[in-house]
């Protein structure tokens, strides 16, 4: 795959609100045509960063470049970006068509052409024939579609989405996620999504920047982020991660020798420690689905340990077990798919657990 050109570049961006340091040296690039997510807990600066792109928020130092052009001093109305607001910001005094056509007035199109383009935009978001409706008579999902049409009709270089799905119910949200991905592929515009929902970010993005306290903690594609998080914080924010204490014995030639509680002596590849790890207080982390509880007669493909089941949570398609490996103090979580023929085990049962060194990640 050839590298796409850069659409947005942050160069050591800092932002202060009085004494509060909201953005602490953001340096990152977003590629053209990419579906990029800013993921983080509330207050981490992700919305502030998005608003510096839109031009609603100035920066204290550094530079924001859009398509090679420094945006310093360029007001929001002259930037090649459009935004879908968290509240959707649909103009309540206008009809759906007037909302969608709002930004086209400056283009002074003939009436017929304006109507055609508004119609096309509405059709693209699945609201064909809704043009004459009053904006306040729309449902949440419809408002969002209007907001999308209103932004996309201007053919921006970058579409900014500020937690657009957070106000929708679960079903609607999942449907809109799929539709947003489809729309992004169709129009080919760079989408930048702000979200605090890790699942949403994983589902939709080409790449994700995880932010904590005004800094980007890790910037990677969803799979890398999930499989090889570079810190415990990132690991905990995205999905569930088990940790067991480990000691680093030696490091040489791209191999790391460790001794981990419950697993014993192991040799890991260097890429299994994406964050620097050394000395005391290290830990190995692993996802609940990377371990397997073996039933009688089943053999492990790699390694095997003995464990006691301490808690069972039954979810229908899945069962979550809290098990304690022999030689460890705290239980770890294992998730098993309830495939046909697999029994659900009871609390207190002793069982064999299969695992593989390749699924482990070393953290400081």
């Amino acid at each position: 795959m050839t590298e796409k050109p850069t659409m947005i570049a942050f160069q050591d961006v800092h932002k202060y609100y009085g004494d509060y340091h909201a953005l602490r040296g953001i340096t990152a690039t977003i590629r053209a045509g990419e579906f990029f997510s800013l993921l983080g807990p509330s207050g981490c600066g992700k919305t502030t960063l998005l608003r510096t792109i839109a031009g609603f928020e100035g920066i204290s130092s550094g530079a924001v470049m859009i398509d090679g052009r420094n945006m310093a001093g360029v007001p929001a109305n002259q930037r090649p970006t459009n935004m879908v607001f968290q509240s959707y910001a649909i103009f309540p005094h206008l009809t759906v068509a007037e909302n969608v056509g709002f930004g086209l007035r400056k283009a002074r199109l003939p009436k017929a052409e304006l109507a055609t383009r508004v119609g096309e935009a509405l059709e693209m978001v699945g609201l064909k024939g809704y043009g004459d409706r009053a904006a306040h008579a729309l449902s949440g999902g419809q408002r969002q579609r209007v907001a999308l049409a209103r932004a996309l009709i201007l053919k921006p270089k970058v579409l900014l989405l500020d937690e657009p799905l957070s106000a929708l119910d679960k079903k609607m949200r999942e449907q809109m996620q799929v539709e947003l991905i489809r729309l992004q592929r169709q129009v080919g515009i760079t989408f930048i999504l702000v979200t605090h929902d890790q699942e949403e970010a994983l589902v939709m993005s080409d790449r994700i920047a995880v932010m904590f306290e005004g800094e980007i903690a890790q910037l990677a594609d969803p799979e890398t982020l999930y499989r090889r998080p570079n810190s415990r914080k990132v690991a905990n924010f995205i999905g569930t991660m088990n940790f067991l204490p480990a000691e680093i014995l030696s490091e040489a030639g791209g191999k790391i020798e460790i001794e981990a509680q419950g697993f014993g002596k192991l040799t890991l590849e260097a890429e299994q420690a994406p964050g620097a790890a050394s000395g005391d207080g290290a830990a190995v982390g692993f996802r609940p689905e990377t371990l397997t509880i073996l039933f009688e007669g089943q053999t492990a493909s790699d390694r095997e340990s003995m464990a006691v089941i301490e808690e069972v949570v039954y979810y229908g398609d899945m069962t979550y077990y809290d098990v304690r490996l022999d030689g460890t103090e705290k239980p770890i979580r294992i998730s098993m798919r309830n495939v046909f023929g697999r029994p659900v085990l009871d609390i207190g049962a002793r069982t064999r657990v299969a695992w593989s060194p390749g699924a482990l990640v070393l953290f400081q």
Binding site: A54, G55, F56, P75, A76, N77, Q78, T81, N82, M83, F85, Q86, S87, A89, F91, P92, H93, F102, G103, R105, K106, A134, H136, R150, A151, L154
Partner: protein
């Protein structure tokens, strides 16, 4: 539904409760508002006799009220004054309301509103008198301007004419005009203004296309709140209006108390009311597309 429920006594129903709650106000309004209004309406169709009212039905009072040059000119002047006052007041109130809503810190907004109501701490009458002191021949404005050498003769166009009535009324009604506009501006979702700019419009055009239409319900309310009472204002024209500043309320007072012509006074009063109603209805009608609002 069981028979027992259906037999619930009327006075326990919600409708009865509601009626019970509004009835003191309703009775008060009927006695103090509807009854006098009815009486005036009735008077306006009766015939004036010397010191008494003759119970002969007639349209003569209305013919007099609408054809007599004096009455007509006073009525037109009243309309003109109150339209000017409304225009001046609302135009001055809007920037103040806008400033408090958009540029004052949220924690200080109530302080600002409190400050805006300060003129109400003194009685209306005293405030009107104060304007006399300010605008008079030897008043604050004239002696000030003479003192700093801007003029050497006192200005006489600022008291005892229509101008002084407009100035005084505009000041008196300013808070009434500010508050509804402020409320309408406060209700505007600030992200709408960002959206306007995001979609390529400048701040000023966003104001025209988003802020102003959304503030219109407040502006309409302000216009009505100022226009309706000022047209019938009595005290201000009486005290600072002089002979050229007389308005319709002064004329009605003249008919009732000086000339003892209740029927003609009533006919002028009813006519004034009709004109106010008509103007208000036309104004609301012109702005009805702004007033629909979300449900």
């Amino acid at each position: 539904m069981s028979a027992g429920q259906r037999k619930t006594r009327w006075r326990d129903t919600e409708a009865a409760n509601g009626l019970l709650m509004v009835s003191p106000t309703a009775i008060y309004a009927l006695l103090m508002l509807a009854a006098p209004l009815g009486t005036i309406l009735l008077y306006s169709f009766l015939t004036d006799g010397y010191l008494e009212i003759i119970r002969d039905f007639t349209f003569a009072n209305y013919v007099e009220a609408w054809t007599n040059e004096l009455y007509r000119s006073v009525m037109i002047r009243s309309l003109g004054v109150s339209m000017t006052v409304t225009l001046v007041t609302v135009l001055l109130a809007f920037p103040i309301a806008y400033f408090v809503s958009f540029h004052v810190e949220p924690s200080k907004k109530s302080l600002w509103l409190f400050l805006i109501t300060i003129p109400f701490w003194t009685s209306y009458l005293i405030r009107v008198f104060l304007w006399k002191v300010i605008l008079g021949y030897n008043g604050v404005v004239n002696s000030g301007l003479i003192g700093i050498g801007v003029i050497d003769q006192p200005l006489d166009f600022i008291l005892y004419n229509v101008n002084s009535v407009v100035i005084t009324l505009a000041h008196a009604y300013a808070p009434f005009a500010i508050l509804p506009i402020f409320v309408a501006l406060e209700k505007i979702d600030r992200s709408l203004l960002e959206a306007g700019q995001d979609l390529g419009e400048s701040k000023f055009v966003t104001f025209l296309r988003v802020t102003l239409p959304l503030a219109m319900p407040g502006v309409v309310a302000s216009v009505l709140i100022v226009f309706i009472p000022t047209i019938g204002d009595y005290v201000t024209p009486q005290l600072v209006g002089g002979p050229e500043g007389r308005m319709v309320a002064n004329l009605i007072q003249l008919q009732y108390l000086k000339l003892d012509n209740y029927p003609l006074g009533s006919a002028i009063a009813v006519s004034a009311m009709a004109i106010v109603t008509l103007c208000s209805v036309i104004f609301v009608g012109l702005n009805r597309r702004y007033l629909k609002g979300p449900k």
